[in-house]
């Protein structure tokens, strides 16, 4: 068959128009209904997701637990009893085999002494009471009701247990230190060195050379912090630091969500402040200044 160039171009042009036009026409005819249906579905899914986020675990406002262990630290009482704050630190660190390398770079601390100025940076430091910055202020993990470290942990090594304590499961920690970046209180320490390092005489480099054979150490590459002594609470004892304060009432420990508890009454009858409340973490450690 002999096709003229002119005819060929005509047929090709028509085919192109038909090829482009017909499918889009089909789209218009048949897909309107289907399109509406999918849109509806998408909207529905979006709404469901939003709901889940609001009520779920990963939201920015974690629901507070019914039971929340907390602590009130009375700075005035620590001022009255000289050396009591150091005694508390010593009690905790000896109990938990916390290493002491004598080097601030490798320091591991569960509870430590600082001053008002550095503990409460969010508060005005202008014209504070004379002598306030000389008082020892005990700082530790705040066991927040809305803990940012728990959200940051990729392995759930740190989590909030049913009594409101932010616990470290040292077995699961992979040492990524996201939690340390997330914590606004600097309450977490990383084991840069083997916590089982020994002196030449074979003694462990533990705090004040003490050793508690009933409590394990950690290993290199693991983050650690205060756990509110769950192993002591389980046998009816108070946390080591609280026990060290004796009858001074410098530290009060208990369930802050139970209105009948001693700590709730202390909170009710005193003006207390918390560290960095603007972070929205809802700390469970309160200070009487």
């Amino acid at each position: 068959m002999d096709v003229k160039r002119r005819n060929f171009l005509k047929i090709a042009g028509l085919s192109a128009v038909a090829g482009l036009g017909v499918p889009s026409a089909f789209h218009h005819l048949f897909d309107d209904a289907a399109l509406a249906a999918t849109h509806g579905e998408e909207h529905g899914a979006g709404a469901a997701e939003g709901k889940k986020e609001a009520g779920g675990h990963g939201g920015h406002n974690a629901e507070s637990t019914l039971f929340q262990y907390g602590m009130v630290i009375d700075i005035k009482k620590f001022a009255e009893h000289k050396g009591l704050a150091e005694k508390c630190v010593s009690a905790c660190h000896s109990e938990h085999n916390v290493p002491d390398f004598g080097n601030p770079k490798d320091e591991i601390k569960w509870i430590w002494v600082d001053d008002y100025e550095h503990g409460f940076t969010g508060y005005s430091q202008n014209k504070t009471k004379v002598g306030l910055n000389d008082l020892p202020v005990l700082l530790t993990c705040n066991h927040c009701a809305n803990p940012p470290c728990v959200r940051a942990c990729p392995t759930k090594a740190t989590f909030k247990n049913e009594v409101g304590v932010v616990v470290m499961d040292f077995h699961r920690c992979i040492g990524c230190r996201f939690c340390m970046a997330a914590c606004p209180y600097g309450a977490r320490s990383f084991n840069w060195r083997n916590p089982r390092e020994q002196y030449a005489n074979g003694n462990y480099k533990f705090y004040k050379n003490g050793i508690n054979p009933n409590y394990p150490t950690r290993m290199r590459g693991v983050v650690e912090k205060c756990n509110f002594c769950p192993e002591r609470l389980a046998v009816g004892k108070l946390p080591a630091c609280v026990e060290a304060t004796g009858n001074t009432k410098a530290m009060v420990f208990g369930n802050i969500n139970d209105p009948k508890s001693e700590i709730a009454q202390v909170l009710n009858s005193n003006f207390t402040i918390q560290r960095n409340p603007a972070a929205g973490t809802k700390p469970s450690v309160f200070y009487i200044i």
Binding site: F159, N161, E162, V163, V167, D169, F170, H171, R196, G202, N203, I211, P213, N214, P216, T217, R218, M219, P230, A234
Partner: protein, 127 residues
């Protein structure tokens, strides 16, 4: 059919067989002793039956760990009137105080490395 280089081929074959079977006869001569974990003399029962403990003690330990650390379930286990704490350091090691003879005996033989003792203290490791 004639076999060329019969001597060389047969010698080579013999050497090959010896080399390939080397692990078998080497282990026949230098066999490791079968491990016999040291059991406590005066204690006759454990938290589980012998067969279960032998095959699944690691699962039991992991379950205990998760219950104690993660679920705050520290309920003491009672078997045959005796109470056991759910703990490696404070539970198991009270009846089995010798890590070398109880744990390492089999674990070395089976080449399964333990990491329990990276953190947990063994009873004799007081200093």
């Amino acid at each position: 059919m004639p076999m060329y280089d019969r001597g060389k081929v047969l010698t080579g074959l013999a050497i090959f067989v010896v080399v390939v079977t080397f692990p078998i006869w080497y282990n026949l001569v230098h066999a490791q002793h079968v491990p016999v974990p040291l059991l406590p003399k005066d204690v006759k029962q454990c938290v589980g039956k012998v067969d279960y403990m032998r095959t699944s003690h690691m699962e039991l330990l992991n379950t205990w760990r998760d219950e104690v650390v993660r679920s705050e379930n520290r309920k003491v286990i009672e078997v045959g009137g005796k109470q056991y704490v759910k703990s490696l350091q404070l539970g198991c090691m009270t009846c089995h105080p010798d890590r070398q003879k109880f744990c390492d005996e089999c674990h070395t033989y089976a080449a399964v490395n333990l990491f329990c003792w990276d953190c947990h203290f063994q009873p004799k490791e007081k200093k």
